[in-house]
Symmetry: C2
Subunit: 639 residues, 2 copies
């Protein structure tokens, strides 16, 4: 069969492919990352690439994502373009953001009191510090004829005084080295103990005092992004945080398409291996950057939605997808990280936070832990906006939650210049006197717009009369930035010469419609759940907003577009990646880890797809801020 | 270097060895078993072989074990004879009993009431039947939208009703298959559960009802003999029992020489592998014989002395040997049998019964469990006579024990025609009117004498005036059977034409002296321990005698020679291999297994080597029956 050589630029990576292979497949084969939200279905338009040598014609399906100008310049969609000769393909920055650093946090995150211990300051009470894996230095008395109990009894006798655990399991390999290590080290040893329920498991025994060499990795396995945070356990300090795109994206952007792919014969393992690769790469970066040895990382605690948790553990998620939506497990066993090929200490352990149901995972449980709403009598609310919007309302007596398919609009998908919250993303916008003032992540030339920027744009557009409250452009405006392009008007946010890619960054009417759908879905979910429990928004003491918008969102503007309910802005707090925070808390405190299991078992799920009022709420919310203006008394736009 | 070919007969196995290699080393290299009690030190004389082709001269050290007749016939000791040319070496039956079947039991063993459940009859109450590994058939309700908990929650919800365990751990590999198996089997499954403390561990999940396919292996790992018993768990029936010589014998007969060998760099693993090979061979024989699949054996429960337990688990026993005599562990973790290479079901588990101290192992703990002395208020005694003699006295409130180095005399070592209790061993002897009446195991031609036969011989000799009460032959007798050989008179028990080997079976004066030392050591230990707790023999309600003498011992004769105390013979019961019985009980009842841990922790060890009265007791016991005749009022010999 005829073969063709494909060269990917700017990295100059070449691969040989068979005739009729798509550019996306070729890139996969060459291990070159191209953005791709839909799993290669020609739906998302994220995989734009430029043919710079050779010929390849855009398929008719991809025309809608390309302007005439694009086509002239050789742009095609990688997923829909087949290779019939040798090619050189340039991947624009926007299509290879997978290699970029994700902005992870930055906003000061203030948790409710009981969790203060987990802040970076470390100056609070440490009453609940009780890590999943602790290292304990012991000086054992040498055995004598009058005290000649076995080596392991001698060790556990001393250990018990420190851990207060009734029982310590000792795996055979550890036991086999014990007699030698205690004698070689003159009975001065450091014992690494993992806790699981009320039992300690001795992971390793080392010479002399190495108690300070104890790190843990908290991981948020998101559908779109995987974030890992390295923590120095003894003083609870965050060493560093790294994020990357979930490599599973090549198997489909959303969980459903990944499940479909994985549940085909033989595909499960590659989907599983993707996320393991993600974690190992992040871990490697963190270790290298901070000069820490992998053998000193003793624990991984991960949080993710139910499907991600299944993929992480290589548990088939096939029954999650179909009625009656049954996961294999919702509480996961403590395992050896080694069994998954995660490159921490040989005997190191891994915990995956428990899920509630098929579509309500450990990420939201972690969020509830992080914001502490399950601890106090006041009724509070957590809104976690990711690929799905998840809402929890409750207190120390009850917790109800729901999940709404918000779509990845606020993560930058579905809009031509939408992007994840990485370097160069426009995260804040203000239109003052017709002038657009914007700021980007890392203060570099803009490359696109992330979630918080999109919220700002819609708010500023409607406030300045650029769009009406239905999200339609006022075409009567005399505005050079407004372009009546191909039946879908666009507005220029940044002109070509100001941007990184040399292309104007724009937002179109259909993209705004998409964002309105997303915000409508999230708000309808909040409203439905508040109604379901018979409360009003004012009765919520606090509203915590979590998600990957960027370093922060402008709360007033999020209310202004009707994404968040119109309550006193003082009550609303943006808490960033609460899934990661919950994972870190669980790593530093087995009490917290135990609490995630209680939270998960206490949460009642309201299935919105079978809850009739939801659809009406959704339709009512497809307006800026809302068709029922009484719900947003503080918001008024000049007509 | 020059090489020589050595052929071992009768199996016709050849090997090439370097010049100056000993025949014993050559046999080891060829994987040919030659008896060898002393680890090749030229002390035991057990490794007699016959050179049938080529020349090899007996070393001067071996002369004492060979008669002039032997030397003429080409007999040498394998351990002391070096190879300098091609040889053919015949291994006499007596030197290769390693391949023979050991007689394991046969006497009706009656246990105290609470343990009756574990007898073969199976018609007793099964209140404490609660096996270490059970198989439970479940028909699960199919999930619905109203009941869509995770697969594992559905399983454990049903399982909990059966096991009453609060928690069920599920290893990841089991979890990975769960979703598929429950759906393929229409929610009708059999779950294999191992119990460990209060937690269940799910080992496997199978289609449909396989609960009846559940076997367990009880193993007694003796220093000399390894015995394995296959049990059908659901109805507690013994399927079969097999025994073989401990293959570690090639590294030394006693635990001390094996420890010395094992603790030399790199030798540990081969000593460990020997006993694993023993167990796998016995298992294989049992499975083949009874047409049972290895995958249906889910548990192994083993009992052995502390050193054997360490070798079994590949735990270095090096600190056991030297003051202050510290084992690595006395309570052993539950492990996967697979991790040791034991060929049962892939996820099958193994328990090793707990030890008390360096020289007081799980075998005696198993014995205490088996005879039930820890259960009732009456003070009872267990005497287990193996390579060591171990004594326990106690009741449900206290237990004291001691261990005396009896030597392997009653296991057939140290006497030229002594042998283990295998086929052809003389196990009973009576001298009536000067005529010797004897019976052998399996009623075949005699090959040697086992422990119970040796007890009978000494008793009959002294009763008939053949020896005096010091164990010396009356050389004034007119007795054709008495031969004044080389300063160590011998007595012919069976004439050459009546025996299997065609050689007369004899007992010498020095061998009798050796037996008297052994019986003196055991009795002195019993007496010391009874004195230590301030009791008299009469205050012991029952005395249980365990050990590998043969199918039974003659209690009156054992009293007659002063091995056992002179109490009402009704009080003394021979219970056979109590270590094996205890292992079987622990396999069938986690309550029993839990009890072994309590028994071990309750036992107080009296160290006889540092207990001054013991040496006096020992010297006083070197007489038949005893220097203090008041201790044996029922025994009187004609002067």
């Amino acid at each position: 069969m005829q073969k063709h050589k494909v060269t990917f630029l700017p990295d100059n990576i070449t691969t040989m492919v068979e005739d009729d292979t798509t550019i996306l497949k070729a890139a996969e084969q060459a291990n070159v990352f191209i953005n791709n939200l839909c799993g290669g279905e020609g739906i998302c338009g994220e995989c734009r690439v430029q043919i710079v040598r050779g010929n390849a014609h855009p398929d008719r399906h991809s025309i809608e994502f390309l302007t005439v100008e694009d086509i002239k310049k050789g742009f095609v969609l990688a997923c829909y373009t087949r290779i019939h000769e040798d090619l050189a393909v340039s991947i624009p920055v926007k299509s290879r953001t997978g290699k970029d650093k994700i902005v992870l946090s930055g906003s000061p995150v203030v948790y409710s009191k009981p969790e203060k211990v987990f802040q970076q300051t470390g100056d609070e009470s440490i009453s609940s510090f009780d890590p999943v894996v602790s290292k304990i230095y012991l000086e054992l008395p040498e055995p004598t004829l009058n005290d000649n109990i076995s080596d392991i009894d001698r060790l556990t006798r001393a250990l018990q005084k420190m851990t207060h655990l009734q029982k310590h399991d000792v795996p055979l390999p550890v036991l086999r080295n014990l007699a030698r290590v205690v004698r070689e080290s003159d009975w001065k040893i450091t014992v690494t103990v993992a806790k699981h329920h009320k039992t300690g498991r001795i992971l390793k025994i080392e010479h002399s005092d190495t108690a300070n060499k104890n790190f843990g990795l908290a991981v948020d396995v998101g559908t779109t992004t995987v974030v890992a945070q390295l923590v120095h356990v003894p003083d609870m300090k965050i060493v560093g945080t790294e994020g990357s795109h979930n490599l599973q994206a090549r198997y489909g952007e959303d969980v459903i398409s990944r499940m479909v792919y994985a549940c085909n014969q033989g595909n499960m393992d590659s989907v599983h291996q993707s996320v393991i690769k993600n974690i190992n790469e992040l871990l490697h970066t963190l270790l290298t950057e901070h000069n820490i040895k992998a053998e000193d990382v003793n624990a991984v605690v991960a949080a993710g939605n139910t499907t991600m948790s299944h993929f992480l553990l290589n548990l088939p998620p096939c029954a999650i997808r179909i009625e009656p939506y049954v996961p294999t497990a919702s509480v996961y066993p403590q395992i050896h990280a080694e069994d998954l090929g995660i490159n921490i200490a040989k005997q190191g352990i891994m915990e995956v936070l428990p899920s509630v149901a098929a579509y309500l995972g450990g990420d939201i449980v972690a969020g509830v832990l992080a914001c502490g709403i399950a601890d106090r009598p006041e009724v509070r609310c957590l809104i976690d906006i990711g690929t799905n919007g998840e809402i929890v309302i409750g207190n120390n007596e009850w917790l109800v939650c729901c999940s709404a398919s918000a779509g990845p609009a606020f993560e930058g998908a579905g809009a031509r210049y939408g992007m994840r919250a990485t370097s160069g993303a426009i995260e804040k916008i203000e239109i003052r006197n017709g002038k657009i003032i914007l700021s980007t992540i890392d203060n570099v030339k803009p490359r696109g717009i992330c979630g918080s920027g999109l919220i700002d744009i819609i708010y500023e557009f409607v406030r300045n009369g650029i769009i009406d409250q239905n999200g339609r452009f006022d075409m009567s405006r005399q505005d050079r930035r407004l372009i009546a392009e191909e039946g879908d008007p666009r507005y220029i946010i940044a002109v070509a010469e100001d941007t990184d890619g040399g292309q104007a960054i724009t937002v179109s009417e259909s993209e705004i419609a998409n964002l309105i759908k997303s915000k409508g879905s999230v708000f309808a979910a909040i409203k439905s759940l508040v109604d379901y429990v018979g409360l009003t928004f004012d009765q919520l003491t606090d509203i915590y907003v979590a998600g990957g918008f960027g370093s922060s969102i402008n709360i007033s503007k999020a209310i202004g577009i009707g994404l968040l309910p119109d309550v006193d802005t003082e009550k609303i707090q943006f808490i960033g990646n609460s899934s990661l925070t919950g994972a870190r808390m669980s790593m530093l405190s087995t009490q917290a880890l135990e609490k995630t299991r209680k939270i998960a078992s206490r949460m009642t799920n309201v299935e919105l797809s079978t809850y009739p009022p939801f659809m009406n709420e959704f339709i009512a919310a497809l307006f800026l801020p809302h068709t029922d203006s009484k719900l947003f008394p503080s918001v008024s736009y000049k007509k």
